[in-house]
Each structure stands twice: as C-alpha cells, then as structure tokens.
Assembly symmetry: C2
DNA sequence: TATTATAATTGTACATGCACAATTTATCAA
DNA sequence: TTGATAAATTGTGCATGTACAATTATAATA
C-alpha cells in the first residue's frame, strides 16, 4: 500500500477514534505532518484523496474539517476507492441465472472494442442487498483478457478474482445511465411489474492500460436501491 | 486562472488541433513539460485534472493516451469542473413557475443546517434542454448567504450569478438519487403521466468553507435525459 | 461600540530533484 | 522462430523549499 494511501487510512482512523463530527476541525497541516511523520507532499496527497472521497474538506487559511454523510441506507455509487468500507455494511449475494462462453454478440462488439468472432463470457445474475433484490446484471468479459471463469467464481465477486487471482489492474470506466420502464422479461427477474420504473446503467470497464475488458448492463430495482454521490465540482 | 488549469486547457486544445482519437498517444511527459514550458508539478497536476475529467489516461512506462466518449446526447452528470464545454453544446432554458421568499420549511431545515425561522428563497422552475422538457427543479437558497435574488436572475443561471455577481465560492455537494413513480403534480409539469418513471436527485450544495447554501430537488424527464459518468475508481 | 487596517495563521501553487516501478524495446541464446 | 533476459523508456512516489492567497484574530481608529 502506498504511503499516502496508508496515511489517509490513518487519518480516517484518527477521525473515528476522536469521534469527530461534521464540521469538526482536524489538526493543522504542519502538525499532521509531524504527527504522522510524513512529508508535506505525502500529507497533501492523502488529504486530497480524503477530500475526493468526501471524508473531509479543506479551507485555505482556516483549516481541515470533517465532512460526513449522515443519511443511511444509500449505496455509494462512485467511491473513487475504498468501496469495501461502504459495502461491508451491506450483505451482497448473487444468484447466477446463466453462464456461458459465446462469440461476442454484434451489438456489444463496439462497446468492448473486440475483434469479430472473439469469445466472451456472458453472465446473467441477480444481486441481492441485505436479502432484497437489488439489480439484474448482464455482463460480458473478453476471454482474451479474462482467460478463465467458472460458475463458482461468478457466484462470488468477479472483480476480486480478476484483481487477486489474475492480477489484472482495473482502471477507469465509462457509465451511461438512463431511466425507463421495465420490460416484461426483466420485470419478472426483479419480481416487479412490466412498466415499473427502472434505472439502467451500462458500464464499460477498462484496465489501467486502457483496454476494455468488461461490458455490463445493470437494471436496478427501484424500491431497493438509492444512491449517494459526494461530488466536488459543479454542474447544472 | 491557475497555471495547471490553464495548462490543462492548452493540452485539450492540442488534442483538438491534432485531431487525436481514442487511444492516440500524447508526447511524453518530459516533452510536454518543455513544450508547454511548465514545471513537472504543474504538468502532473494538469494531467491529473484531465484524467479525472475523463479526457486522458496515463500508463506508467508507456505514455499518456486520449480517452474519449463517443456516445452523443448524454448529459455529463458530474464534471468535476468545466461543465461549460459540455453544456454549451446544449441549449438550456428555464421557465419559472414560482419564486418567493419564505421562512425555511420544516423538512428542509435539517438539510440546510439553518436556524428555525430563517428566510429562504424558494424557486420552482422547469428546465428545457434543446427545446425539450428536461426536469422540474425545486430549490431553496438561504438568504443569510444569498442576500438577494430576483425573477430575472432566476430565469437565467443562478449559479453564474452567485459566482460572478456575489463572488461566492461554490465548493462541494452531496447528492442523493433514487428512482420512483411520478406523482400527479409533478407529472403535469413534465407533461407526463402519473406513475411514469422518474429519476429524482436531491442535492445539498456547500460553499468552499463548508456552509450549505442551497438544497434542491430535481425530477428528470425520463425520455429527455440520460447521463454519462466517467469514473476512475471501482465499485460494485 | 463599530469599523477599518494590520498581522498571524493556514492551506495551495509551483519548482526541483532523487528513487523507483511498469512497460516496451532490444539483445541474445536455444 | 521462440523465449528468456537485459536495457531503455516513461510515468509515479516522495522529500524539500519558496512564494502566495484566503481566512481569522488582533490592534488601531473614529
């Protein structure tokens, strides 16, 4: 683990231990540097990480303060790292509906940037959060990059396997979201009615070297999923 | 404008001028430093910014490459900065449904962290994108922080006014998203039918000093709004 | 007391330099 | 040709230091 990540973790622990609340002030930068015995660069990067994560915010000339989400029951949609802490609080289970190795379907070739006829693992699963149906997930993994998968792995966390066992370095992803009415086939799987609202998220995952390896379409159960996003820029 | 932001903009221009496509390689770091005549720190920060923005990705030992979204018609939901480029491509209009100065409603006090009885500007508008209804927005601005607003400002971009005219520094925000069925009242405004799907986003905006100043609830028209998110961490 | 000017505090921008890790290319042996 | 090994390339991590800008506290003034 990198030093600035380690430092960030230690600062989180510090916040926890001292039971700091929203708006509470941390020690000033210089003292943090001394206290955690790192350079200014490292501390700055650690703080920047925590800021992006939504844990703290910094005010020049004033100090470093705790920023905390209070609402419970929301899924952290984009966590920029450290999603484990977030999801550990929830019990995630998967039921595999289908698992096969097929030639890459036409409409997905473009998304995966794959050669015609290339083989992909096609997986369909239902994912449960704390016992409730959270979403239906259809995903396609390029065999060129993910040479082997089996049903057992797919029942657990696929990404953990990719990172741990295969040593793949997962980089960035493009997500496309839209809201619509549930088609009949999907509704059945989610135990909802056709026409009910649904959030659909298409994602193309890339390795750190930029190669796309996974395309997935997730349809969320509108009653069992709500999301929180902590953002730092500005929008509409 | 800060030097590293300026540099980032210049690099974007470079990409544009040279018509670089997805996967194309930029000059190596050392040359970029010479070419744009900045220090390594500045260049690194500029590249980091572009990476978070989704414009490029960097591969150690290999180089810096262009990452581009190709799908059209999607609204960039979180832009971490530079949303103008994105929205300039669209024509955004607003119709003000109501505009008043009222004591902060009970259920919003907590979100705004305001004192009981504090006055807020309550605004309801419909926002159009390229002539189509995009969303219904209800927002509440604390008068303590935003001393003056009028109908004319509200018909344009409120945030631009806050930043330009009032000199407020807008910092971070917490967003809560969920999908549901349109209630009757909202459906009318969006020219949809009650029970149709809807994406609702609640947002609490803060100044850079951490004080919340705006709480808004936006309900999107499911047929006229889809979103793209370019992310860099990992999730589910 | 209220207001204004000044100083102290505190985080941010930027420059430079060394060490290192991942990738790619070149080299050589089988 | 293939496969292993070494070397060059190239971005990342981390340390140190200077200058500066925004905030807050203090002192001076009306």
């Amino acid at each position: 683990m990198l030093k600035y990540q380690q430092t960030a973790t230690e600062i989180e622990a510090y916040i926890e231990q001292h039971a700091l609340q929203q708006g509470d002030k941390l020690p000033v930068l210089d003292q943090l540097i001394r206290q955690f015995a790192v350079s200014k660069t490292t501390m700055t990067k650690a703080l920047e990480l925590l800021e992006r994560k939504g844990t703290i915010f910094q005010v020049r000339g004033s100090g470093i303060f705790v920023r905390k989400t209070n609402r419970k029951g929301y899924i952290e949609l984009f966590s920029t790292q450290g999603f484990k802490q977030n999801l550990v609080e929830h019990d995630i289970q998967s039921k595999v509906l289908s698992f096969e190795l097929i030639p890459c379907p036409e409409e997905i070739i473009e998304n995966l940037g794959s050669a015609p006829g290339e083989m992909v693992y096609a997986i369909k699963r239902i994912r449960y959060i704390d016992g409730n149906i959270m979403c239906l997930e259809e995903s396609y993994y390029r065999q060129t990059i993910v040479p082997y998968l089996n049903r057992e792995i797919v029942e657990q966390s696929i990404f953990e396997y990719l990172e741990m066992a295969l040593g793949l370095n997962i980089g960035f992803s493009d997500m496309y979201m839209h809201v619509g009415k549930l088609p009949d086939a999907v509704a059945t799987h989610l135990e909802l009615t056709a026409g009910d609202p649904a959030l659909t998220v298409e994602t193309i995952f890339h390795l750190t070297n930029g190669r796309p390896f996974d395309y997935s379409v997730i349809t969320y159960h509108y009653e069992h999923s709500q999301f929180v996003v902590q953002a730092n820029g500005l929008y509409l």
